[in-house]
Structure formats: structure tokens, C-alpha cells
């Protein structure tokens, strides 16, 4: 699929989700798993836009690119914000998630939902860019 580059603003989230949804549909991924992918892309993109690009110029961009292979859909988010590996973020554990909302901290929930929802999540720093990589198996045996 063609790479899509968008302004790094929260109003781009809907379009990033739409791209992920289209990619999932082309890969034959069912609606529930497509939703998990869209949520994952949305959460990581929200982080990039809200924190990574916090002090960035208005021209800052975030790009999304989907590749469909025989076995999987691989969606990559690409940005030029300072290096940030979501896998290094401390995520809520079972005890945190059982805690009443009155006592909740707000950190890490988005990244937790993102990483839980996809079959594989990967991060790489390459040439001044962050690459956040989401992989979903094509489990319904679509013909190629």
C-alpha cells in the first residue's frame, strides 16, 4: 500500500485509523482484530503526537505504511521525534488494573492496550526516525 504522510496533529488520528482499517480489510483480517490494530496505531500515534512532537514545528509529520505479505499485515508508523521505545515504558500490571479508579495513575494504559492488541509489536530507531511496527497474522487463509 502507498505510504501516507500526515501532519502530526491529533486530528490526523481518524485518518491513521482509516488507513489501518483499509489495510486490515485488504489482508482479510476480521473486524475484531482490525479494531485491535486500529486501536494500537491510534494509541502509539497519540503518544508520538502528544509527547514525541510536543515542541515540534507545525510542519512535523507522521507517516503510516502497510505491507501485506503471504502471512501477515505489517503496518509501520514513522516519525522524526526524539527517540522513544514504547517497549521500555513501564506498563500497568494485573494489580494496577484491579485498582479502583480513585487510586489510578494514568500512565501506560494506552501503550498497554496497543501492545496487547497486536500479534507482534516492534520498535526500531533508524536514520533519525522512530519506526513503530505492528504485525497481524492473516489467519483466515485468504488466497494470494
Amino acid at each position: 500500500m502507498d505510504k501516507l504522510s500526515l501532519p502530526a496533529v491529533l486530528d490526523s488520528l481518524a485518518e491513521l485509523r482509516r488507513y489501518a482499517r483499509d489495510a486490515a480489510a485488504r489482508a482479510g483480517i476480521d473486524a475484531d482484530r482490525s479494531y485491535q490494530l486500529q486501536l494500537a496505531v491510534d494509541e502509539i500515534a497519540t503518544n508520538i503526537i502528544s509527547y514525541g512532537y510536543k515542541d515540534a514545528a507545525p510542519s512535523a509529520a507522521i507517516a503510516i505504511h502497510g505491507v501485506i505479505t503471504a502471512d501477515a499485515l505489517v503496518v509501520t508508523l514513522e516519525d522524526q521525534a526524539p527517540a522513544f521505545d514504547p517497549r521500555g515504558r513501564q506498563l500497568p500490571d494485573a494489580a494496577d488494573l484491579a485498582r479502583p479508579l480513585e487510586e489510578r495513575g494514568i500512565g501506560g494504559l494506552g501503550i498497554y492496550l496497543a501492545i496487547q492488541g497486536v500479534d507482534r509489536f516492534d520498535y526500531r530507531r533508524e536514520g533519525g526516525r522512530n519506526l513503530n511496527i505492528f504485525e497481524m497474522r492473516r489467519d483466515h487463509g485468504t488466497a494470494h
Binding site: L13, A14, L39, L97
Partner: protein, 107 residues
């Protein structure tokens, strides 16, 4: 599909209907509605989510905000959420702190 929100104040309870996609761009509208509703000090806050198609953690954070803003004496109902949105609420452990119901019925 966007996001829309409507608020209805009743006898000791407030109802907020959420429609569409609740992402980080839409969450401030939801937060504003909670702040407004909290001023009337309702006993019960009912969030109708049967038309909510998408909810990111930004929406969950507003629910946490609502819980903390309204105080322990106020009951929070999340009504009609379904599919992946309901799944997200459960995965995040929110069923421990709010009433998750198919149709509204005061406890």
C-alpha cells in the same frame, strides 16, 4: 464518522450520550461535559455508549477523571457498551469501579 456528545440533567442523575469515535482529539469535549455535569452534583452519572464505535485510552482517562471528580458517593454507570469498546473497558479493569450494564438499571 467523528464524535458527538449530548448531556441531559435529570432528578439527581445526569446522562451523557457518546456517539462515534472517542479518541485523543475528541476526549477534551468529553472532559468538558464531565466538568459541567459535576457542578450539579448528581448522585448518579450515566454514560450511554451503545453508539460509541471506538474508544482509545484518552477516553478511559476521562472516565478516571470522572470517577475522581465526582467523588466516592456518586455511582457511575456505563450503559450499552459493546464489542471491542466493552472489551477495552474490561481489559483495563474498569468493571471493578463502574457499573457496566446493557440497559440502565439503578443499583
Amino acid at each position: 464518522m467523528g464524535f458527538s456528545i449530548s448531556v441531559e440533567d435529570g432528578q439527581g442523575e445526569a446522562t451523557i450520550t457518546l456517539t462515534g469515535e472517542l479518541d485523543a482529539a475528541a476526549a477534551p469535549q468529553f472532559k468538558e461535559a464531565i466538568e459541567k455535569v459535576a457542578e450539579a452534583k448528581p448522585q448518579r452519572l450515566i454514560l450511554l455508549m451503545d453508539q460509541l464505535e471506538f474508544m482509545a485510552s484518552a477516553g478511559l482517562r476521562v472516565l478516571i477523571f470522572a470517577r475522581q471528580k465526582m467523588g466516592a458517593g456518586v455511582s457511575l454507570y456505563v450503559v450499552g457498551s459493546r464489542g471491542p469498546v466493552l472489551n477495552t473497558l474490561k481489559m483495563s479493569g474498569f468493571h471493578h469501579s463502574v457499573y457496566l450494564q446493557d440497559t440502565y438499571s439503578p443499583e
